[in-house]
């Protein structure tokens, strides 16, 4: 197997040198964090008044964990560590209860992110001869732009198609002989089911690889996609708080995702106790971004569950690998690659006066894609007997949900009292999706 490197020196750095580099970068990050409204009082309280208070690895544990809620509270500029004139881009999340989160990037931050993506894709064997069709959404979602910059850096021919429009995707795959796709697992399976309709056969395509991410999926799904398309599938891990894709990526060996440890301090903790877990133990991934200067994040709880693999990979990269994402510590749903919290749906429903207090969220599979069904009870006092009004109500709920969570839901209206009532903790989410 041919092993390619983008930055061989850093990718194969020996453990001791990596530790030294990490500590140096951690100090830089801490001094940068001390410039933010959020971290300044927090670090001081923990006894860290300057970067010099981080002398050894033991000092690292003094840094308190940062959560998603902290990030929300910091919106919009509690975590901004540089002058706005040095910020070249920002990405926000849609936020659960109306409070989004924001990550700022300097020019160097963006460039470093692109470097990580470049390393990642070269590790899969990508070269400037590849035609890269990026089917992840562009815009605020970091999946699209993240891979785009890295792929351009390596010199691939990038087709910035974004998500959706299956017919056109297939046409482009055929016309330009796309060799690599960046796509969600559910969407690539959907594309396969539509090939026939488009009059395109596998032999008309030049596909060789797919980078699948943004949704959890199993080893069986990888195999299925590989067999259906006769390609290699590589797993990708990232989250917008840590820039986006390029945090962890599988190399040609396809045995876990290398986390770029010169940039991300990797820990796995017990989500209940916060205690650090050893290798091969499943827990919550905690990451520190060691290079981003505009928005430092220290010991960030990702809420993703995975384990760190033991041992060295055959590719000789020294950066440790993590397993697939095995679950979440919170109630976040991933629907066709989009992150949605049930509370976002509730927030929209509850501001509509014609809707009662009970609702349920159903997730189903429609073909290989996810379908979101929101069942709501109508509020009897608001019923006028007019069918057009009820139809308008339904459309309004669909529209407002779409605007808030980006996903187009199916909405069902029900009579009051017809949805199950729960004593104690309500089971609002019914996930009937067959796991991919």
């Amino acid at each position: 197997m041919e092993i390619n490197f983008w930055d061989k020196e850093i990718e194969t750095i020996d453990k001791a040198a990596l530790k030294v580099l990490q500590l140096k970068r951690l100090k830089e990050t801490v001094s940068c964090a001390l410039k933010t409204q959020f971290y300044k009082p927090r670090l001081k309280k923990a006894g860290i008044n300057s970067a010099d208070d981080i002398k050894h690895w033991e000092d690292y544990k003094k840094i308190p964990l940062t959560t998603k809620d902290d990030l929300r509270e910091c919106y919009p500029n509690g975590l901004l560590a540089v002058d706005m004139k040095d910020v070249v881009r920002l990405h926000t999340s849609s936020g659960t209860t109306g409070t989004p989160t924001v990550i700022y990037h300097t020019k160097n931050d963006i460039n470093h992110w692109a470097e990580l993506v470049a390393r990642s894709i070269v590790a899969t064997g990508a070269t400037n001869e590849d035609v890269f069709q990026n089917m992840m959404s562009y815009g605020m979602f970091t999946g699209g732009l993240g891979l785009h910059y890295g792929a351009e850096k390596v010199g691939l021919t990038v087709i910035p198609m974004g998500g959706g429009n299956t017919k056109r995707q297939i046409q482009l795959m055929k016309d330009f002989g796309s060799t690599i796709l960046h796509i969600t697992p559910s969407y690539i399976l959907h594309i396969h089911s539509k090939l026939g309709e488009s009059g395109v056969e596998l032999k008309d395509l030049r596909l060789r690889k797919a980078y699948l991410g943004a949704e959890p999926y199993s080893e069986n799904t990888r195999k299925k996609v590989e067999q259906l398309f006769k390609i290699d599938v590589y797993n990708s891990y990232g989250l917008s708080e840590m820039n986006g894709p390029g945090v962890g990526f599988e190399c040609a060996h396809k045995c876990g995702m290398h986390v770029w440890e010169d940039t991300y301090l990797l820990e796995v903790i017990d989500p209940k106790t916060g205690e650090s877990l050893g290798e091969d133990k499943e827990g919550e991934i905690v990451l520190t971004n060691l290079t981003r200067r505009a928005t430092p994040l220290l010991r960030y709880r990702t809420r993703d569950i995975a384990a760190i693999h033991k041992g060295l990979c055959g590719c000789k990269r020294t950066h440790r690998r993590i397993s697939r994402i095995l679950g979440r510590t919170d109630d976040m749903l991933i629907i066709n690659g989009v992150n949605v919290y049930p509370s976002q749906i509730e927030e929209v429903i509850m501001r509509i006066p014609q809707v009662g207090t009970n609702y349920q969220i159903y997730l189903e599979k429609e073909g290989t894609l996810d379908k979101l069904v929101v069942k709501v009870e109508i509020y009897s006092k608001m019923f006028s007997g007019n069918l057009a009004e009820i139809d308008a109500l339904k459309s309004r709920i669909v529209e407002e949900l779409r605007a808030s969570i980006i996903i187009h839901p199916a909405v069902e209206l029900h009579e009051p009292g017809s949805l199950p009532v729960f004593e104690g903790k309500a089971k609002r989410v019914v996930d009937n999706r067959v796991k991919l």
């Binding site: 109508i378 019923f383 009579e415 009051p416």
Partner: protein, 143 residues
Amino acid sequence: MKLTQISIFLENRKGRLFDVCSLLGKNKVNIRALTVAESEQFGILRIVVDKPEATAALLKKHGFVASLTDIVAVEVADKPGGLADILKVLSVSDINVEYMYGFVERKSDKAILVFRFDEPDKAIVLLKKKKIKVIGRKEIGDL
């Protein structure tokens, strides 16, 4: 001379229409006219009964979503062109029919049509002027 119709929101669930009708039957409510406006997952059942307020209260007590709406019932000759004659009167006066439904009177050659107008009072005046018979609440009860 307006009549009161009951509109009932029904989700598309097996036996739901039966639930309404059996409740009304048990309580000796006689349905004079009925129509269902339907959508994919739900329908609106519209009924004309002799005691609308009491019936609506009964339905609500049993958990149904019901509301009252003013309607106008008109007697029309049960022959070709009967409905057209009435609609012509309304149309020239710019009165809109939101929806309508009809039923045939048992012991005569007349049909009765139930209209939901955007301006029911204006419609009644106009219909009467044209000597079209508007049915009152008592007459509906007697049918």
